[in-house]
Structure formats: structure tokens, C-alpha cells
Subunit: 559 residues, 2 copies
């Protein structure tokens, strides 16, 4: 089966090359345009999606006791009506443990990497179906579903796989050790090195980006000889179920035990995440979700390796710009994109109370605020454009949080309220444009945490220096995955960079939205530093993969 | 200062090459023979050692409140009388934190690797002094001190450094990212990747091998941008203090802040390990020592990355051999070498009650036991040879444990008692030859744990299959760093190998003592699997270094 490795040799070689060069590359098609895809691919996927609705999902796996599934589409507010196997946790974990042993002991690392490359290729054929599944669970727009949850997510999966391959292929399978000791004769010892997985890996997927973090975890784990139990968000089962179904089908076709990948779905009122995480067979945990749960896992799941990606309060520091309109567009775009439900969405916008310089012009604080609001208004004025940009708000809880913040904002200044826009295709879609609350720099207890969804803060600050101090300390103490700064002064950029490096948080300067500033590019951007509270795992450095396997050594002296 | 990297370029390149080839290599001199060393080097070191006795150790470091030091030589039973700086923990940790920031933010990875290579070279000039220090603290023989605690320990340090260099050098310092998005114009973003250390690394050294585990931890930590606080065993301060002194002196000469490496010594009655481990600035812990303390750290020090090497119950499975005398010599040698105070020492010797085949001859169980005892007697008969082989027993506690086991053995069969031998140079040396207790396979509660020091078990087992099962399960559940098996049958070897791979424990077949079977070779042997309770860290895989640094990314769009 290492022929699969040969089949995809070029792809993994390219991936390794770009992980080192860190320039732009992707082997997957980001555009859903018909000209890039087989004839009828889109329509076929749409048809399959419709047929899935209201039916048991065609996934057969062992240790099933009935069904679960209470997903509701953020576009229609209707239940998807799809039922999934309800797992019997104890026997399911036994199954996962047994399949893991077989997988790790009966396959070579290269063989496993080859299988993963083939799985990735098959998943890439699913992108249209995955798009509809992501829309009607996570609430993504069509484009975000296709590119962000499809091509870009597969890129992250391939990137993690490349790192796993690299970490493993540095270790030879055999070595011949020859030396003499003191004045004795030469001794030759044949050594073999066996790379074995740690056990069962539980992958907890988030609701808003079901595949983006799941793919890296799945392929890092499978390649290094672990089995994977996927725990989707209760409203994000479908995209994950499609992944599990695709992988299991292919594994069977290839003659492998499909039980190295299993779905463990649940419902909002009957969660199974903690029993899975605490299970004695759980050797690895990959978690994407809230900072609260993430930090609980980091502190309570000592028995397992824990990789988290959570969230923080991403800042924007505005000091000066030579592209005022571009800057405002970039920030407004970040606040609107997928209704700010991304871990890279901007949240805390620091503006000096005395305004900023733009080329030779001085622009006042009030004007910046007004122009930003106007930019958001403009971006969301046309419901068709708003729909493509904002998608839906995934969870009803987010609307409750908008209400709470609106209430709290009475103490501050609500400069822009969130409002629904009429989705051109789905009249019941749960849409919302960004809410903007103006606060003082001292009101940090309000903005020093993630406000998930279309909520952001204009923070009036004495000057840019105080913004640096506040934003970098907030990143350090409360987390940040992506922060942003606008400054044309190199000296000032260096000051910000130094403060953020010291805070252990990454930052982007003068990003203008030709490319959405939220975009985190596989093979180029390191996503999550692990030095601040917004997660401990980085997509993808070698540390993300290196501990997922261990080395058992067999020595044989020649007799 | 990257000229230091250039200076040692050949050495690090060689180290990287041998880490991949995993054949035999060492750039350090294992032999203390005068012909390999500068004239007078040995005598000079002996003189320095004598001058150190009874005096304050010449180490100046900040945050000192008085002195500590109650080391007793296992050779003379006399206090060394050396006093060391007593650390004031809170300010010492502040110092370590501040120096770490400077070190990680003001140096490049390659520069740090260059400095570490120079430190290693300087430490290698110290091997004679380190030998005397190791003898009179750990109780090593002269040869073990010179080779095991000198050249072989430096090899492990260089190996870890090579891995750190490799993990860091795979990440470029800069990249240029260019792409267009949708139908927009091309955007170019300059990215820089900053590799930063995590903070303060506390390295807890063991008493019997002060440098062997310390060097890898020190160089993995320094190279990746962390500062190091070394906590020696209260009876093993001197070898560690010499390391700290050498490193600080050189760092100062090179113009670096020497406070990136600090000594934190204590006394048996007033230990400071736990406050150091629990300190909020402690970001990394490297621990070598008892399984009990190691597992406490693994379970209680969530705030830090934890790397442990502890111990387990190493087995010997005897099924058949074509070199009976060689096998017995190898086992007896392992039981005697450094009085079995090594993490690779054999402990549980499984012998089938119906005896074994050796070529065409059948050898009975009783004969094997008698011959093994005779072999030990022979190896230890000449006090001069015994002294070179066994060295001293480091801790008086070990004699208490010998007494306890002698008492317990009344329920079993004491086939060989431990006895002191008269050391030819040191009449008061705390010597002991191996105690051998014969038990049944069912008496597992006695042998399923480490008996530190010259204590081993002959385990009478129904057959070789039961030995495989027991030994592999014991390795899995109670830990093993190195186990051994003797079998001429390939099928049987495969069966044992499979059981041990499954148990996550390394094993050596048919090792005959031309090379001591305890020997774990840097660049070739992976030491500790991390899959059983005998520790979670491996010398040296990429996982040992990959998480010690993190990546902060700065992006700048071209304006």
C-alpha cells in the first residue's frame, strides 16, 4: 500500500517544500466556478445534500445504540432532520483502541501517510457537498463554505500531514551500530526503530468551522498511528459525518479496518464530550472551541496530550496610514466576514482620541469612527452582498449576547447597532450586521474577553502608545490569535512588533483587504502561538505532530 | 556571535548526520589515558578538586543568601565541606525570567546554537575534574565518571542540541507571500517568524548521574531561548556547580548575561525543589529521579511543559543462547556495573524452571542460577576489579533497602547476599556487590517496582512464554527503560519484540558484554519511549525539543 505514497509523492513533496519556503501554494481549488470542476459536480452535490435531509445519515459504524441529531439550519431555522449513529461510549472506545493497535503495529509510517494523502484527495472531491453541509450547520456563506471550509481546510490538513511525515521520516527504520569497547573486539548491533501511535485521539470540533481544525488533527493523528474519534458540535455534525463516511468507505476499499475513524455525535441536551475526554483510552485531545472549556481541558486532562485552539480578544491598533479607505475597508470587512465568528476576527479597535495622520492630512477620532460605521453600512447595504459576506449567525445564543451587550452599552456608547438583513434566498436566515460599542481604554473588563459573533469595540485611547500597552497586555493575559496594526512609521511598527513578540502574540501590519485580513494561509502563516491563553497548539509547527508518536527500539546483537 | 556557529559547523553537521544514520559516533574522548590528553591535564584536575574541598565553591551569582552544602563522599564518608550559594528563590526566579527575555529576544537561534556548541567544547575540557566530582558525590568509579558522566553525557547534550538546531532551522526567518484573492490585484505580505523560548526551565538532576540528563536539558533549553535553573541532588551539587561555573564564565567572556544559567542548590533537610517547580515563571521542567516524584510532577505541574526520566523494573528473559558464558557475563556485568544504580540496569531475571537450550546442550534452571551467582562472585572477587566495576553505593538509604530486602527474602530464597568489598584505595568506601533473591513468577508485588541499587530477582517461571507475558506487562504497567532477552530462535525473538512494542518498551536481544549491555549510545539509541511509566521524554527525539520554543509571526503588507 505504499504505492499510495508513490501516487501522491509529488503533492507531499510540494507541501514539504512550501512549509519550508512559506510562500503561497495550494493544490486545491478555491473557486466553485463550474469551469474548474467536473460537469454537474455542483448540482450533484446539491442533490445529495437534499436527499440527506430528513433521513438517517448513511454511516454504518459499530457500537451504535439508536440515533442522535438535532441540527437546525441557521438559514431556514428548520431542523435538518438527519439522524446519526448514537455511540455507546465504552464499547466505542474499545473499538477505537483495538483498531489503533492494528493500525499502528501493522502499517509503516510511509504507508499511513500514503493512505492519508489518498483520503485528502477523496475529501477534496466532496467540497461542494461539504459546502452545503457547512452552510446549513455552521451558517457559512456559500463562498466561505467552499473555500474556507473546503480548500483552505484541506490545505491545513495537508500541511499537518506533511509535518507528520517529516517528523517520522527523519528516523530510519534500521541502523547498524558497530563499535568496540575498551580493548575488546568490535561488536555489531542491528537496531530497529518502531514508530507507534499513542492510542485513541479524540478530536473535538467547533461549530463554526467544523473541518478547518479537524483536518489537521485527523491527519496528524492517523499518520502517526493513532485512531480518531470525532466529536462534532451538536449543531455541526453533518460536515464531520461526511468526513467520517468518506474516510471509512475509502479505508474499507483499501483493505484497512475503517474503525480507525469513528463519529461520536451528540445532542445539545445530552453532551458526551467530557466522558470521551476523560476516558482512560484517550491519549490525545485536539480541541477547538471556547477558551473556558479549552482551559478546563488543559488543566484537567493530564492523562492525554492536549492541543487547543480557543480564542481571545484580537486587537486593531490604528496609529497612521497612507491608505485610509483601504484600512477602513479591511477592518469593516473583518467585522462583517462570517459575522465575526472567526478566531481571526478583529474585535478591539484602538483609536487615539486626537486622531491620526494619513499622508499629510490629519483625521479626527470622530471622523474615523463615523467612517468606519459608514463603511460597515455600505458593505452590508445590499442584502445580496451582505449575505455573501456575513453568512448567518450560527447560534441563537449569539443573539442573546447581542441583547446583553446592547443593554450594557447604555453605560457606554452604542455607535452602531447590529441589525438583521433580509437574506435574498432564505427569508428566515439568522443574519446580523456588526454591533459597535464605543468605550474608554479603562473599560477593559468589558473588552478583555472574546465576544463571539458580530460585536466589536471602538476603544478611545489617550494615544497610540497606550493602545500598544493595552492591546499587547490583553493579548498576553487574555489571548489573541490574530491582531492588527496600522502605521506608516517603521519605528512605531517595530515598537508594536516588540510588544507583541514579548506578549507572545502574532500581529499583521497595514493589511488591506485585497486579501481578507482574517485569512490564515496554510504553509505560510503559523496559526496560534501557544504563548498566550488563546490555545496551546500551532497550525502547523513540528511540535503539533512530534509527540503524537513514540519510538520503541529493538536491538539485536549479531550472534 | 554566529561566528561560534561557524567555528563548530563541522561538529553540528556531523551530529545531525549521525542522529539520522544512528550509527556509532562521538567527538569526545572516552579514554582517560594520558596519551589522549594535554600533558598534566589529569594531575591539574586532581589538584583543583583537592583545592575545592573544604572551601566555598568559587561561583558568584545573584540573589544569594548565605551558603548551603552537605555533600558526603561515598568513598571517604567524609563531608566534602564545599559550600555553595544559597538561592533566594523569588528574586532568583525574577533574575532567571529577566535574563531569559534578553536571551530569547536579542539573539538569533543560530547564534544561541553557536554559544551552546562553544559551551559543550569548554565542558569537554573539564572531564577530569568532572570525574573526581562525580566520584565523590555520585560514587562512580573513575572510569564511569570519565566516560559515562563525561564523554557520553556530552554526547547526549550535543545530540539534544542538534535536534534543537534542526527543529529551529526548518523555519525560515522571513518569507514573501504573494497571491491575489478572487479577482483582486496581487498582494505581497512580508512575514517574519520569531522563535522565542517559553521562559524559565528548571532542570532537576539526579544524584547518581548528575550530568547525563542535565546536559541534554540544558542545551535543548538554552538553544531554544529559555533560561536554565539547575537544581542538583543535595549530594550531587559539585558536578552541577562546575557546569554552571564553566557556562557562566564563558557566557561572560562572550559578552552575554551569565544569568541564563543559575544554580539552585539545597540540603537534604531543607529541599527547594517543589517551590522551584511550582513557581509561576517555571515554563519547562526536566526531571530525572524517582518514579514517585516524577509522576507527582506529571500530575501536578500543569503550568509547565514536563519532561521526565524515571525508572521501572527492567527485565531479562532467558529462553536460549548459543553463548552461555557470554550471556551470563553480560547479565552479571549489568548487575554489578555502578552497583546497579543505572536506569538501564537489569533487575528481573526470568528463567524457565525447565532450563534452556544452549546449542545442543540442555542447561537446567539450577545450573543457570548457580552459574550466574558464580559469575558475579568471579567479577567481584578481586577488589581492584570490583572497585572499577561497582564503584560505590551513593546513598545510605540503599543499605537500609538492602537490609529490608534481606529480611523479606526470608520468605523466598536469598541465593546471593550483597557484601562489601575492600576498596583498594578508599577503606571507608560504601561498596556492595549484588544481592540476588529467587522468587516465583507469582511474587510479582515484590519485583514489579524498581529496587534501586544492587538488588535483583531470579524469577522462576513455568516457561518462556509466561516470562514474555509477565515481563512485557510489567514494563507496560510499572515501567522499563531497557529490557533484555536471550534467544536464538527468530520466531521467539519476534514474539518478544511484538509483546514489548505493544507494551511500549524497548528491548535488546542477545547482548553480550563486549559492550556493557547497560550502555545507551547517543545518536543511535532512543532512551525512554514515553509509552510506559518510566518517563515521558526521549533522549533524543524531535519531540524532546520541538515544544521548547514557539513561533510569533509578524506580517507586513507592502505599502
Amino acid at each position: 500500500m505504499s504505492t499510495l505514497f508513490e501516487k501522491h509523492h509529488h503533492r507531499i513533496t510540494q507541501a514539504l517544500r512550501y512549509c519550508e519556503e512559506r510562500t503561497y501554494w495550494s493544490p486545491f481549488q478555491e473557486s466553485p466556478s463550474a469551469k474548474h470542476h467536473p460537469s454537474g459536480a455542483h448540482e450533484q452535490a446539491k442533490k445529495i445534500f437534499k436527499e440527506l435531509l430528513g433521513n438517517p445519515f448513511p454511516l454504518k459504524q459499530p457500537n451504535t445504540i439508536g440515533t442522535v441529531g438535532k441540527e437546525i439550519s441557521p438559514y431556514t431555522q428548520q431542523p435538518l432532520g438527519i439522524s446519526y449513529p448514537k455511540p455507546d461510549i465504552e464499547p466505542l472506545m474499545d473499538t477505537a483502541k483495538n483498531s489503533q493497535k492494528e493500525w499502528t503495529y501493522r502499517t509503516e509510517p510511509k504507508e499511513r501517510v500514503g493512505v492519508c494523502l489518498e483520503l485528502i484527495e477523496q475529501l477534496s472531491q466532496n467540497n461542494f457537498l461539504n459546502t452545503y453541509a457547512s452552510m446549513h450547520t455552521a451558517g457559512m456563506s456559500f463562498m466561505m463554505g467552499f473555500a474556507g471550509s473546503g480548500a483552505n481546510a484541506l490545505d491545513r490538513g495537508l500541511e499537518a500531514l506533511a509535518h507528520a511525515h517529516k517528523a517520522m521520516s527523519n528516523i530510519p527504520s534500521h541502523a547498524k551500530f558497530t563499535r568496540s569497547f575498551a580493548r575488546g573486539p568490535e561488536t555489531t548491533i542491528d537496531k530497529s526503530y518502531h514508530l507507534v501511535g499513542r492510542g485513541v485521539a479524540v478530536v473535538v470540533c467547533c461549530g463554526t468551522f467544523p473541518t478547518w481544525n479537524a483536518y489537521p488533527a485527523i491527519f496528524a493523528n492517523l499518520a502517526t498511528g493513532n485512531s480518531v474519534v470525532l466529536k462534532p458540535h451538536p449543531n455541526g455534525i453533518l460536515p464531520v459525518a461526511i468526513v467520517v463516511q468518506t474516510c471509512r468507505r475509502l479505508l474499507e476499499e483499501l483493505g484497512y479496518n475503517p474503525d480507525i475513524i469513528l463519529l461520536a455525535a451528540d445532542e445539545p441536551e445530552d453532551r458526551i464530550t467530557i466522558p470521551l475526554l476523560e476516558h482512560k483510552y484517550t491519549a490525545i485531545i485536539d480541541f477547538t472551541g471556547s477558551p473556558t472549556f479549552g482551559s478546563w481541558i488543559e488543566n484537567n486532562c493530564n492523562h492525554a496530550l492536549v492541543y487547543t485552539e480557543t480564542a481571545g480578544c484580537n486587537s486593531v491598533i490604528i496609529e497612521s496610514t497612507n491608505n485610509y479607505d483601504g484600512m477602513l475597508h479591511a477592518i469593516a470587512h473583518s467585522l462583517c466576514l462570517f459575522s465575526s465568528q472567526m478566531c481571526t476576527s478583529a474585535q478591539n479597535i484602538f483609536i487615539p482620541q486626537n486622531g491620526i495622520q494619513c499622508n499629510d492630512e490629519h483625521i479626527s477620532y470622530d471622523k474615523i469612527v463615523d467612517d468606519l460605521v459608514a463603511k460597515i453600512d455600505k458593505l452590508t447595504a445590499d442584502p445580496k452582498i451582505a449575505a455573501a459576506l456575513c453568512g448567518c449567525v450560527m447560534s441563537p445564543v449569539t443573539f442573546t449576547q447581542l441583547d446583553t451587550l446592547r443593554e450594557e452599552a447604555k453605560k457606554y456608547n452604542l455607535v452602531r447597532d447590529a441589525h438583521c438583513f433580509a437574506h435574498p434566498q432564505f427569508p428566515n436566515a439568522s443574519t446580523a450586521t456588526p454591533m459597535l460599542v464605543e468605550v474608554g481604554i479603562a473599560d477593559s473588563s468589558l473588552y478583555q474577553k472574546e465576544h463571539f459573533g458580530p460585536m466589536a469595540f471602538i476603544i478611545r485611547c489617550p494615544d497610540a502608545d497606550s493602545a500598544i500597552l493595552q492591546a499587547s497586555q490583553d493579548a498576553k493575559n487574555h489571548g489573541s490569535i490574530a491582531s492588527y496594526a496600522y502605521s506608516v512609521h517603521e519605528q512605531y511598527q517595530d515598537k508594536i512588533a516588540e510588544a507583541f513578540i514579548d506578549a507572545g502574540a502574532s500581529i499583521g501590519f497595514n493589511l488591506i483587504a485585497h486579501l481578507p485580513i482574517n485569512f490564515s494561509a496554510a504553509y505560510s502563516d503559523f496559526h496560534v502561538t501557544g504563548l498566550n491563553p488563546a490555545g496551546n497548539a500551532c497550525l502547523t509547527d513540528i511540535a503539533f505532530v512530534a509527540s503524537r508518536f513514540r519510538i520503541v527500539q529493538i536491538k539485536r546483537e549479531r550472534i
